[in-house]
């Protein structure tokens, strides 16, 4: 049994090493290990029954993760009222699932999509939403504060949810959250529970850097530095609610969940 756990740990480490910057990968692996090994396999004399039990839990974990998006989409439906305007940032599959479900439920709402440069992920999302016949408006990232007054709520996904209750997400989320907070617009984060990570950043630089190349379209002079970070950290005071497969949570509950999971 110990051998199996060691093998699992090795596999998990290899997976994590593949992309050290991905928080959800790390968090997911850690949580999987905890979830699976939480069963006191030692209580089973028979190795085979212990193994099958571990397998069963592993499959359940996979199912939960898959179903998570559906659960979240269902939970958030009550918050989308007819005639509302939703601001989204970048392309998050969870958020897309939410909007798809809402469209299927024949709700009337409008979506403002930020461009999500430099990856232009926002444009992709706009295309998908247009296919669903949802009214979409594209904006450049700098136009967020300008449009904030007509927005009713902000939906964002998350790369990782940290112990303080804050989220790590695509670059730009923090400034949207600040603008929304200053104008009293709620910011809702949709994240599966396996993204809960045992990190506690104090500021932006406290994160593992995740850099990606940025193409400005024009050549950049060699002496000029470029800020290449791909994500930022939004502190919990700017977030209103977290929608997870564990339910609708306030940011402070994240730490409680983590303590219970990890102790």
């Amino acid at each position: 049994m110990m051998e199996l756990e060691i093998e699992l740990k090795k596999a998990s480490d290899t997976l994590k090493a593949w992309d050290t910057t991905s928080i959800s990968l790390t968090a997911g692996c850690d949580l999987f290990m905890r979830y699976v090994t939480r069963t006191s396999a030692l209580e089973f004399e028979d190795f085979n029954s212990a193994k099958s039990r571990v397998l069963g839990r592993a499959e359940k974990f996979g199912e939960i993760s898959n179903k998570a998006r559906k659960i979240i989409a269902m939970l958030i439906q009550d918050f989308i009222f007819d005639g509302c305007t939703i601001l989204v940032h970048g392309f998050s599959r969870v958020v897309f699932e939410i909007l798809k479900t809402a469209a299927q439920n024949k709700k009337l709402f409008r979506v403002l999509c930020t461009e999500g440069s430099p990856d232009k992920t926002g444009v992709l999302l706009a295309k998908e939403l247009a296919k669903l016949d949802v009214p979409v408006k594209l904006l450049i990232d700098s136009a967020v504060a300008y449009c904030m007054e007509e927005v009713d709520m902000v939906f964002v996904g998350a790369d990782g949810v940290v112990e303080s209750g804050g989220v790590i997400n695509m670059m730009g989320t923090y400034q949207i959250a600040i603008a929304a907070h200053s104008m009293n617009k709620p910011v809702y984060v949709a994240a599966e529970s396996y993204k809960f990570a045992r990190l506690y950043p104090l500021d932006q630089k406290d994160l593992e850097p995740a850099l990606r190349p940025i193409d400005f379209g024009v050549p950049v002079p060699p002496k000029v530095e470029v800020e290449r970070s791909a994500r930022d950290y939004t502190p919990p005071q700017f977030l209103t609610l977290l929608f997870t497969d564990l339910g609708v949570l306030t940011p402070s509950v994240v730490s409680d969940e983590l303590i219970q999971l990890y102790s």
Binding site: E163, G165, R198, K205, S252, S255, I259, Q260, S263
Partner: protein
């Protein structure tokens, strides 16, 4: 013992002032460890009289300073002591000295202390009373009791210390001229039952409100340490105890020989609290637990008693003594709860030696897991937050933060430290000295400069006496100020606190629960004799001094709390308190 020595750093520097020097030599004589011989209990009534405080006892008017430097006497001095009707007994039994052994006589003959803890006298008297009392019935005892009460009332109270020495042990029952409190009478005469009840009522509630007159009077009667209440008190803080400092120590020292049932280790710890030699949540807690370990080691169940109840009662009496020396800190309160819990959970079927061994190992485990290991975990988490080029601010002398800084330095991280300090305690200087010795770059300033220096600070590390359920950090006075200024400058504030110090109560301000220190200390500046503007004004009706020891920092100013459970936001404290209690129940 190695681990706790870290926490006793305050001891050396106290010796600098000549006033304090006398306490340096304050150490207990190397007595043979008391053996509890219930059979010889009645006979050997020697114990405390043979302890070192004989010099004080001989000259009750001797200056306080002389006491501790007196020669440490043994049995030979017993004769010079007052209240030694057991003198003959002392000579007779040169056997080992039971610490809580019988000094029935001394108890009886000692008038002034506004009442020994009844448990103490109760225990002592009981042992001797048992063989003598078998024959009397309850009615007779009641009658005797009433007669004595009347007699004491007639006497009007105090008999001088020395003269009562003439009362021989045989006259225990008859001659009780100086029983100031009728409660003592009750205990002296009654059988085991009532005194148990008294014992339970005895320990003053740790957070007693001192503005309730009747309660205060009752507490004073039970008190072991004679405390004179301060005259000039701030109205807002009337619910907190405030005593004249400086009168307690010598008073306590003279009484030591008469405080028979007080275990020497506990007594020593109490005096160290009183004089300020041990300060800081961890140090006080560890010292107290180690004293309790010794108590358990030398404990033996009196006949017809269960270990659980009797030992718990004993611990309660020691705790009430410690409270009188200095109000309990939250860390101590939680540790005491743990110890009592463990005692209560001991199966009745265990042999005494097994039970004692189990208890001792439990206490040892508490210290090593909840304090020492917890500190290591905190250090491990906290050093990850220290980055290259950081400027760290710390206030006072928190033991956990010091460990973090030293460890970060070991790991070759480059950072510098800003130590903020404040009068009157100047605890920051202790920390400063230790950091500089290790070669850490330090800056030192006082708290009035905090808004000036905070702009260059990147992180603030603070310690805590306790963290309460609503996320409020209860810590040395001045901490709230530092946290608020840091918050205004958007500097993250990290509080390092072991989980055993968390408490489920909630506090909204620094007033409802606090500790008042010696007010006279504020009117002077240590080392600056020329600043004497307030001399002669200390008793002026228009001037009140307020020396608060703790303050409460609201959770909004705290970014993160680092505990042995990991790094948590202040909102998660109730979860940790819950988890912590669950652990205890399972253990």
């Amino acid at each position: 013992m190695d681990p706790p020595s870290r926490f006793l750093h305050s001891v050396p520097t106290r010796f600098d002032s000549p006033d304090r020097l006398r306490f340096h030599h304050f150490s207990f004589p190397q007595l043979p460890l008391p053996r509890h011989d219930s059979s010889s209990a009645a006979a050997s009534a020697v114990s405390p009289s043979s302890f070192s405080y004989s010099t004080a006892a001989t000259s009750p008017t001797a200056s306080p300073g002389r006491v501790s430097r007196g020669s440490f006497s043994r049995f030979s001095f017993a004769s010079s002591l007052p209240g030694v009707g057991m003198d003959s007994m002392a000579a007779a039994t040169s056997s080992s000295v039971p610490a809580s052994g019988l000094t029935t006589v001394s108890v009886v003959n000692m008038p002034p202390p506004p009442g020994l803890s009844e448990k103490a006298s109760g225990v002592g008297v009981q042992k001797s009373s048992k063989p003598l009392k078998e024959k009397t019935t309850k009615a007779e005892r009641r009658a005797l009791q009433d007669a004595q009460r009347a007699a004491s009332k007639a006497e009007g109270g105090k008999a001088p210390l020395v003269s009562s020495g003439s009362v021989a042990s045989a006259n225990v029952k008859a001659a009780k001229p100086a029983k100031p409190s009728s409660q003592e009478n009750d205990v002296a005469v009654a059988a085991a039952g009532p005194s148990e009840k008294d014992r339970k009522k005895d320990a003053p509630h740790p957070r007693m409100q001192y503005d309730d007159e009747s309660r205060v009077v009752k507490a004073k009667r039970r008190a072991v340490v004679k405390q004179t209440e301060a005259k000039n008190r701030v109205e807002l803080f009337r619910h907190l105890p405030q005593y004249e400092h400086g009168t307690q120590l010598p008073d306590l020292e003279t009484k030591f020989s008469l405080l028979d049932p007080m275990y020497p280790a506990v007594y020593k710890v109490g005096l160290q609290y009183l004089s300020g030699d041990i300060s800081g949540g961890n140090a006080r807690c560890i010292a107290m637990l180690q004293a309790f370990q010794e108590v358990v080691k030398d404990y033996s169940t009196p006949p017809e008693k269960t270990l659980n109840r009797d030992l718990t009662a004993k611990i309660s009496s020691y705790v009430s003594f410690l409270i009188e020396c200095r109000p309990l800190s939250v860390s101590m309160g939680n540790a005491i709860r743990f110890v009592k819990n463990r005692i209560a959970q001991l199966p009745i079927t265990l042999f005494e030696s097994e039970a004692k061994a189990a208890l001792q190992s439990d206490i040892q485990r508490f210290i090593s897991e909840k304090i020492v290991a917890a500190d290591k975990a905190i250090v491990r988490h906290a050093v990850t937050k220290i980055r290259y080029g950081d400027v760290l601010l710390t206030y006072g002398s928190p033991s956990a933060v010091e460990m973090v800084l030293l460890q970060a330095h070991e790991l070759r991280k480059k950072f510098r430290v800003l130590v903020v300090d404040s009068l009157p305690k100047l605890e920051g200087q202790l920390l400063l000295r230790r950091l500089i010795k290790r070669g850490i770059d330090c800056t030192y300033t006082h708290i009035n400069a905090i808004s000036y220096i905070t702009h260059e600070v990147t992180k603030v590390f603070l310690g805590a006496s306790s963290v309460l359920s609503n996320g409020t950090v209860y810590s040395r006075v001045g901490t709230a100020c530092v946290a608020m200024v840091a918050s205004a400058f958007r500097v993250p504030v990290l509080v390092c606190c072991e989980a055993y110090k968390f408490h489920e109560r909630e506090q909204l301000d620094s007033i409802c629960s606090n500790e008042l220190g010696d007010p006279n200390v504020i009117s002077k500046v240590h080392g600056r004799g020329d600043i004497n503007y307030l001399d002669g004004l200390t008793n002026n009706a228009n001037l009140q001094f307020l020396n608060l020891m703790y303050d409460a920092t609201p959770s909004d100013y705290i970014s993160m709390i680092i505990t042995d459970y990991g790094m948590v936001p202040p909102t998660s404290v109730p979860v940790i308190v819950r988890e912590y209690q669950k652990e205890h129940l399972l253990v």
